[in-house]
């Protein structure tokens, strides 16, 4: 039997009588925390004095699960980490396994991988834009971006049958070739997308209120960003030109032309602009890949049972939509990894949040959670 709560007589009067700072538990059930992030806030009026992210509400022991399954069965686990960017997770994991086993991916598979990864980048950024805008109070971009994201997800569905947890890559190549007519549909979407991006930018980029809410908010100086190990658009927003696709090209990114946008002030607005330009660059990459898509096999010759050598270890990181997503795998001569550690961009970018929201207002906090672009599935794993 549950006891009713004891009610102190003077609760309402004593609650804030002699304290200026208030503790506020922001989340895990809060519309703006993008899942189950909890922030312990100490606030003075609306101003945040201190913030402390509490994570772990979505912990599923993914890294342990990796050890229990053979290399090729672990790909679905990666889908469920950053569940809005499954393709890039797949790509990072299979890339690590390929390095570990010395598999050489055929050119057609590499090209299709780039297309899938860039489509995923666009879809992840669209979702980010939608939630970021709705956090700041602009409701309409949400529906516009979801309209386009829907078509993107249809493309994924046509390719591999899944829309979110794609499981669309295998060590050594790809599970399927592109279905008939897929490239045409993809090209049609890519032709549409720049116009749609203009549409979103028309609503936000020069909007006075949008600028007031983002310019100069959450400034992350480049040194601080590097100290925290922040990667991806967060780092580039601070003006550091670091993109693994350029710095350590993988899967043939050195064969396509694109630019890496960087911000100047390191504020929320710059990170917004960087991501908007990245989507346009992704369109550019996909167009190039669709044009030069080579013929040939989509799977490398690989052993029937994939085993890593004893004490073999590898780290392979790629540029995911949110930053560097990397896998550190240790083999012990069995078909299962001995240890598989993930370098999740969301988790590491989240560490900078207390730094960003020092002295900010509650309203800024939601903008800042939006601009870090975290997915709690990846933070907690």
């Amino acid at each position: 039997m549950t006891q009713p709560l004891a009610l102190p007589e003077d609760d309402h009067d004593g609650l804030f009588a002699d304290s200026e700072e208030m503790e506020l538990s922001f989340g895990p059930q809060h519309p703006a925390t993008h899942g189950v992030l909890r922030l312990k806030l100490k606030i003075n009026g609306e101003r945040i004095v201190e913030s402390y992210p509490v994570i772990g509400y979505l912990h599923r022991g993914t890294e342990k699960l990796f050890e229990l399954h053979p290399f090729f069965q672990n790909i679905p686990h990666t889908d469920r980490m950053d569940y809005v960017a499954a393709a890039t997770n797949n790509q990072a994991y299979v890339g690590a396994v390929e390095k570990l086993l010395g598999l050489v991916v055929p050119p057609r598979a590499r090209c299709i991988r780039i297309i899938l990864a860039e489509l995923q980048r666009i879809s992840s950024h669209l979702l980010w834009l939608a939630t970021h805008a709705i956090d700041i109070g602009a409701m309409t971009p949400f529906f516009y971006t979801f309209r386009e994201r829907e078509i993107l997800l249809d493309l994924f569905e046509d390719y591999c049958g899944a829309r979110l947890t794609l499981n669309c890559m295998r060590p050594g190549g790809l599970p399927y070739d592109l279905p008939v007519g897929w490239t045409g549909r993809c090209a049609a979407l890519m032709a549409d997308l720049p116009g749609k991006l203009d549409e979103y930018e028309e609503l936000l980029t020069n909007n006075r209120i949008w600028k007031k809410r983002t310019v100069g908010i959450g400034v992350l100086p480049p040194e601080v960003a590097i100290d925290y190990g922040v990667t991806g658009p967060m780092l580039r927003g601070s003006g550091v030109r670091w993109d693994l696709r350029k710095a350590l090209p993988y899967d043939g990114y050195d064969e396509v032309e694109f630019e890496v946008p960087i911000g100047r002030n390191g504020d929320t607005y710059d990170r917004y602009i960087v991501r908007m330009i990245e989507m346009r660059q992704s369109v550019r990459i996909i167009n190039q890949c669709l044009e030069k898509l080579p013929e040939g096999p989509i799977m490398a010759k690989r052993p029937r049972v994939m085993k890593a050598g004893k004490d073999a270890e590898i780290y392979h990181g790629i540029e995911g939509p949110k930053g560097e997503i990397g896998f550190y795998i240790v083999g012990d001569g069995t078909p299962n990894p001995y240890r598989c550690h993930v370098r999740p961009p969301s988790f590491i970018n989240l560490q900078s949040l207390p730094e960003l929201c020092k002295g900010a207002l509650i309203a800024d906090l939601v903008a800042l959670i939006g601009t870090t672009d975290i997915v709690l599935g990846e933070v907690d794993r």
């Binding site: 009713p4 709560l5 009610l7 609760d11 309402h12 208030m22 506020l24 809060h30 519309p31 703006a32 609306e46 805008a133 709705i134 956090d135 700041i136 109070g137 602009a138 409701m139 309409t140 949400f142 529906f143 516009y144 309209r147 609503l203 936000l204 909007n207 209120i209 949008w210 007031k212 809410r213 207002l361 509650i362 309203a363 800024d364 906090l365 939601v366």
Partner: protein, 354 residues
């Protein structure tokens, strides 16, 4: 119709008729045939119009074009469990929604939907008091108590912050709103709502033309007063969950909702009356448009109100939300000085012309 009114009048006698029967009937008609259905269908209109703006459909399953949706909503809200948090201050928690919705509806008493009675008919307003506008402003400002009480009594930190935000916001924006309203009053020389429209008829132009600055100030302040986007900070759902009404459910929540929409209509109706000539047709001074005269005044009034309501919905589909300190900046540093300047200019011109 006229004969029916006449027969009732002769039966009960003039005093009783004009003192009790006619206002009572008008109040009932106004409340149950106009305001409440208008609020209900405003929610539907908002959802449908936002839907069209946002590449989606909006509610369209209940009845043709979703026309029965508001009724379904009300039925749902009425049968929903009504929970009061254990640690809430009960009397305030129960009182708060009433304090929001009551004054909002009360204001309609002095809003003229149409002209005065011609011989033997009824006039298009419940009452015309000589301090009508003062009554509107005073009554409307009671509503803020509801929001503060609701936010405070819920014993929820998010509600409390929502309540505090609404207190600061609504009190701040009442100042430029009041100052903007003085412009038309100066021009008309009366506080009576009917009198102001009649003055616009006599002056042969709508007051929006000489008072364009005041009109925009009133519009912006009005959006802030009703806590609508881009000034919807007290209930900013991404920051404060649902702000002051986080803990409310069922019909109590619906009352807050009702109050917000009633306030939207009030602000629109007052703006129509003071700036857009109330029930007058467009350009009352242009003879070429005289063919519009047979259209009843109430139609013009409704059309103008709908334009404002559409504007409210349009804002919601377009703008992000202001931050709290930016909102205060806008109110105190821009709108109040501009309103004061506008007032001084209006007074000066009035003095020179008269």
């Amino acid at each position: 119709m006229t004969s029916l009114i006449e027969s009732v009048r002769t039966t009960v006698g003039d005093t009783l008729f004009y003192g009790a029967v006619s206002p009572l009937v008008k109040i009932l008609v106004l409340l149950f045939l106009m305001i409440l259905p208008l609020i209900a269908y405003l929610t539907l209109a908002e959802r449908r119009i936002l839907g069209f703006m946002q590449a989606r459909l909006g509610p369209n399953r209940v009845g043709p074009w979703g026309l029965l949706q508001p009724i379904a909503d009300v039925a749902k809200l009425l049968v929903k469990g009504d929970s009061i948090p254990l640690r809430a201050v009960k009397w305030a928690f129960v009182l708060a929604p009433c304090l929001v919705v009551g004054p909002a509806i009360l204001v309609f008493a002095v809003i003229p939907l149409g002209p005065r009675a011609e011989a033997g008919g009824l006039s298009w307003f419940v009452t015309d008091i000589n301090t009508g506008l003062l009554f509107v402003v005073a009554t409307a400002s009671i509503g803020v108590y509801g929001l503060i009480l609701g936010g405070w009594s819920s014993n929820n930190k998010f509600s409390l912050m929502g309540g505090l935000r609404s207190a600061a916001q609504m009190i701040s924006y009442e100042v430029p709103q009041g100052l903007a309203l003085v412009g038309p009053v100066l021009l008309a020389g009366t506080l009576s709502m009917v009198g102001i429209v009649e003055a616009q008829k006599a002056d042969r132009f709508w007051y929006v033309f000489p008072q364009i600055v005041g009109f925009f100030l009133y519009l912006v302040a009005g959006v802030a007063e009703t806590n609508r986007n881009p000034f919807d900070l007290p209930e900013a759902e991404s920051e404060l969950v649902a702000g002051f009404h986080t803990e409310y459910s069922g019909m109590r929540f619906a009352l807050f909702f009702l109050g917000e929409y009633a306030n939207m209509i009030v602000i629109s109706a007052v703006a129509t009356t003071l700036f857009l000539g109330g029930w007058l047709r467009p350009f009352p001074n242009v003879e070429a448009l005289a063919f519009l005269d047979p259209v009843p005044g109430v139609i013009w009034f409704a059309l103008k109100v709908f334009v404002f309501l559409f504007l409210y919905i349009w804002f919601r589909g377009t703008f992000p939300r202001y931050r709290f300190d930016q909102l205060m900046d806008l109110g105190w540093k821009w709108m109040i000085p501009v309103a004061l300047g506008n007032l001084a200019l209006t007074a000066l011109v009035k003095l020179l012309v008269a």
